[in-house]
Symmetry: C2
Subunit: 341 residues, 2 copies
């Protein structure tokens, strides 16, 4: 038994395919006699008809799919975002094509080409660099785009981000209240908005708290948001003998790197060093000690981004209504008062 065509439905209902098409499409249904609509609907149901989106797409130039570009799905930050995206998208009859770039710009290029070849109607990016040649080209070609998590310097690009600055300040104030006076920062890559914004907020926060003395030696730059880089950065910090008693890590993965080093060196957390992360990735609550971190609404970031993208696709306009979501400090075991000397 072959898959039923629109043709079959039309025949069964005793109408032309065009009428059947109109009756089945909510947007054009009003053009058709009510009784005809029910007859067609019944015929469709009886045959178990589902429209072939390929054929439809060919005609309408709409694929019903959007691309999602992320560095790596196995980075725990992304699955909840992707679920948020997917839930919103599928409710709208769309589907997501997810591609991983591994932070390799050549690969990103290829993947974007792949997505465009697949006729995606828009793209959600989780990989943005502050200077983003790809993005500008895509924007110029009027491809609907939404950035998640990160922003770019080019204005006019829609993004859904979290309040990075606020998050860092929350962490700093928490540490200051515990009595910390020398607080270090493992800064993420400065070609990302997250890395840059968080570093700036750290510097601003120290000034606000009057703790900016010897600031520069308390900052370690990390080349990537990875555990490895976090460990390396933390080692560097320790070797500097700065006398710091707490670290605000650029994100949870960098914080995990700190944990590794502390375990290796037999340092106790938070006694020897308090650590604050960023993101509240799944499972950081399970660490010993649980990681004090800034919780971001991962699922909502994805869901909101999908919503904005759909609006863009539907309206065809390129209004850049960016959204910034609130964050929250989650205090766990990795922060405590500094050891008294």
């Amino acid at each position: 038994m072959p898959v039923p065509r629109l043709r079959d439905v039309a025949d069964l209902a005793g109408v032309h395919t065009a009428t059947a098409s109109r009756a089945l499409n909510p947007a054009t249904r009003s053009l058709v006699n009510e009784r005809t609509v029910t007859r067609v609907a019944k015929a469709a149901a009886q045959l178990g008809y589902t429209p072939n989106p390929i054929a439809r797409g060919l005609k309408t130039n709409r694929s019903g799919s959007v691309g999602v570009v992320i560095p790596d799905l196995t980075n725990a930050l992304f699955p909840p975002m992707v679920r948020g995206i997917d839930d919103v998208l599928s409710a709208a009859g769309y589907c997501a094509l997810i591609v991983n770039t591994d932070n390799d710009s050549e690969r990103e290029q290829t993947q974007i080409g792949f997505l465009r070849g697949r006729q995606v109607e828009g793209i959600i990016f989780g990989t943005a660099r502050l200077d983003s040649p790809f993005l500008e080209r895509l924007v110029a070609e009027a491809v609907p785009i939404v950035l998640i998590n990160r922003r770019v310097e080019t204005p006019g690009i829609t993004s859904v981000t979290v309040n990075d600055a606020d998050g860092v300040l929350l962490g700093l104030h928490h540490l200051a209240e515990l009595g910390h006076r020398r607080i270090a920062h493992l800064a993420g890559p400065q070609w990302t908005s997250t890395g840059k914004t968080r570093l700036r907020a750290y510097q601003q926060g120290l000034r606000d708290l009057g703790l900016e003395q010897g600031n520069s030696e308390l900052i370690v730059m990390c080349d990537a948001f990875t555990e490895i880089q976090g460990a390396a950065g933390f080692e560097t910090l320790l070797e500097r003998n700065t006398g710091c008693t707490a670290v605000v890590a650029g994100n949870d993965l960098l914080a995990l790197g700190c944990y590794d080093v502390m375990q290796r060196r037999d340092m106790d957390c938070p006694e020897a060093m308090s650590i604050v992360g960023f993101n509240d990735m799944p499972i950081v609550d399970k660490l010993r000690p649980g990681l004090t971190t800034i919780r971001i609404p991962q699922y909502d970031v994805g869901a909101e981004a999908a919503q904005l993208l759909l609006e863009k696709i539907r309206s065809g306009t390129s209004s850049a209504k960016s959204v910034m979501l609130d964050v929250e400090l989650v205090v766990r075991g990795s922060t405590g008062p500094p050891a008294t000397r």
Copy 2:
């Protein structure tokens, strides 16, 4: 500047669209004069032509996409598998449509319908129940299917699984060597092959080791592979006062539940209780103590499944060449000798 069509390429190369089509398609290229091929290729490159897969799909009835059905992408077990799938698929020019079922059969039904509507050429399932009405129907309709992680009772369905029995035995032997004599099991849902196989292996293993006395009170059934269920199961076990000194958990999430309870009750691991997990999910190495568990090749499971599915799609046959991959015991801090009384 509009997207170039095959027509444009053909015009530029001074040939008919049919010839251009043949020249561009590796399968039919041999039918075309070599010089013509180069001319067409050059024209295509110059225009930056990419074939429109929608139009192609309409003609060939091939969408170039496959469905991936999993319970929940945010379960850390799946992202690596999905990456494995995606890497293989995209190398073959295919893409993956991922859907989440949240273990809800109704939702699963809907999602499968969605995938079929999207004309996927095959489906990879990570959600199989031992009795699987959906699957049988799909098989009957000759939809290429590959199961990952789990198997079903119906024979003739291709699957890529890991050696569950072996894994459990490795865990048991490890515990026995450490001196444990009363070893409990938190069994996963018995409507999954993983839950059932691991339980059987546990029972068999105890017999092999001559430790089967009072077996039944050492088994706690969990309704789902979740942390919550693991915690509940472990509580039940403790209330039974079985005198057990070690637990083989049905998977890592159940093991995490044990961690929660131990933390709440201020029990030390492994002194008060040794715990063995299953899967070696990302980050369980970061727990304190690190979780001793059975490592499964998550990425390879996905990659292998994608490979098998592609073969099925290409050959059109329904040979059920199932694959079972090896597992490995990873010893970390959660297992140690039993406390001496």
